[in-house]
C-alpha cells in the first residue's frame, strides 16, 4: 500500500531585532505544520516562540561593517544546523547571508521587505535580489515585475 508520508518541511524564520522581529512574529501561522527554527539577535526572544527552537546571531549593519564576516560565519553555522528547505526573513542585513548559504544548498528563500519602507525598497531588499527566490514588498506602490505585493503585516 502506498503511503503518502508527508515530508516535514524545515523552515528557518529569521530576523534582526526590533521591528524586523515583531513583523516576523505576525507571520507565524504561515508555517503551521512545518518544523520551524527561529533565529534573531536577543536570546530572550525565545519566550515569544517557545517551544520552537531559537538560535541567535550578532547584529551588524553598515554602521559596524567590520562585524559582517563574523556574522556571515554564524549564519553559515545556523544554516548547516537547520538545513532548511525554506528560509523566510523580514531583514535586516544579516539574514541576507542566511539566504545566500541556504539557497546555495538548494533552499527556497523569501525576502519580505519591512513595512517601514513605504517609499523605496530597503537597501538590503535591493541586495536580496541576488539571494532571494522571491522578494515581496508590503506596499502595493513598490511592487514591480519581480517584487510582489502579497499584503502586509498590519
Amino acid at each position: 500500500m502506498a503511503v503518502m508520508a508527508a515530508k516535514t518541511i524545515r523552515v528557518l524564520a529569521i530576523a534582526s531585532g526590533g521591528g524586523h522581529w515583531v513583523q516576523l512574529l505576525r507571520m507565524r501561522p504561515a508555517w503551521d505544520g512545518c518544523a520551524v527554527t527561529y533565529a534573531t539577535v536577543h536570546a530572550d526572544s525565545a519566550a515569544d516562540v517557545a517551544p520552537a527552537p531559537l538560535l541567535t546571531f550578532g547584529d551588524a549593519s553598515r554602521a559596524d561593517w567590520w562585524r559582517l564576516p563574523g556574522v556571515a560565519l554564524r549564519m553559515l553555522a545556523i544554516v548547516l544546523r537547520v538545513r532548511p528547505h525554506v528560509v523566510v526573513t523580514t531583514g535586516a542585513a544579516p539574514p541576507l547571508f542566511a539566504l545566500l548559504f541556504a539557497r546555495a544548498l538548494g533552499a527556497r528563500t523569501l525576502w519580505v521587505d519591512s513595512i517601514a519602507n513605504g517609499e523605496v525598497l530597503s537597501s538590503s531588499g535591493v541586495l536580496a535580489a541576488h539571494v532571494a527566490t522571491q522578494r515581496v514588498t508590503q506596499w502595493p506602490g513598490l511592487a514591480t515585475g519581480d517584487i510582489a505585493y502579497w499584503g502586509s503585516v498590519l
Binding site: A6, K7, I9, V11, G17, G18, G19, H20, W21, V22, Q23, R26, M27, R28, P29, A30, W31, D32, C34, H42, D44, S45, A47, D48, S61, R62, A63, H85, V86, V88, A107, R108, L110, V112, S114, I115, A116, N117, G118, E119, V120, S122, S123, Q134, V136, Q138, W139, A148, W150, G151, S152, V153, L154
Partner: protein, 154 residues
C-alpha cells in the same frame, strides 16, 4: 544607535510634569535622564509589561515600537530618527512616519520641540488609542507565504 535628542526632550517634559511618572529605555545614548527611571535595554517581557501599564508611549519611528503600540492599544508619539544628526544609517524613519505613521492612534512629532504639545493633548484625550488588531498578519499575506513554503515540498 543613540537617540539623545528624544531622551533629552522627554527628560525636560518629565521635569515639567513631576506628577506623571516617566520610564526611559535609552539604548546606547550618552545622555542619562534625571527625572525618571531608566534602563539601557529591557527584556521583551519587561517591555510588554511597561507598555501595558503606560497611558502613552513615546518612541522613535521604528516598526518595533509602532507594532508594539498598536498591539497593546496604546497611543504612540513618534519622533523620526535623522541621518544627518547621526541617529540612524538612513532617513527611512521619515518615510515610516509619513506612511505607517498616519494610522489612527499614531502621532508624529516633526521635531523634538513638538513633543510636549502633542503629549499634553493626548494625555487629556483618552480616545486617542489605536484600534485593536488581530495578533497576526492579513490572511492574504499568510496564505501567500504558506503557498511559497509548500511549493518547496513539491
Amino acid at each position: 544607535m543613540p537617540f539623545d535628542r528624544l531622551i533629552r526632550a522627554m527628560d525636560t517634559w518629565a521635569e515639567d510634569h513631576p506628577a506623571t511618572p516617566v520610564f526611559f529605555q535609552i539604548g546606547k545614548g550618552s545622555y542619562e535622564p534625571r527625572h525618571g527611571g531608566f534602563v539601557r535595554l529591557m527584556p521583551v517581557g519587561a517591555y510588554r509589561d511597561h507598555l501595558a501599564a503606560a497611558a502613552l508611549f513615546v518612541a522613535h519611528a521604528g516598526m518595533g515600537s509602532i507594532i508594539s503600540a498598536i498591539q497593546a492599544g496604546k497611543p504612540l508619539v513618534m519622533l523620526p530618527r535623522s541621518k544627518p544628526l547621526g541617529e540612524h544609517n538612513t532617513d527611512h524613519q521619515l518615510a515610516t512616519a509619513a506612511t505607517v505613521g498616519q494610522r489612527d492612534g499614531l502621532h508624529v512629532a516633526a521635531t523634538e520641540g513638538d513633543l510636549a504639545a502633542i503629549i499634553d493633548r493626548l494625555l487629556a484625550d483618552t480616545s486617542a488609542s489605536p484600534a485593536p488588531i488581530a495578533p497576526f498578519a492579513s490572511a492574504e499575506l499568510i496564505g501567500h507565504i504558506r503557498a511559497f513554503i509548500h511549493a518547496a515540498g513539491r
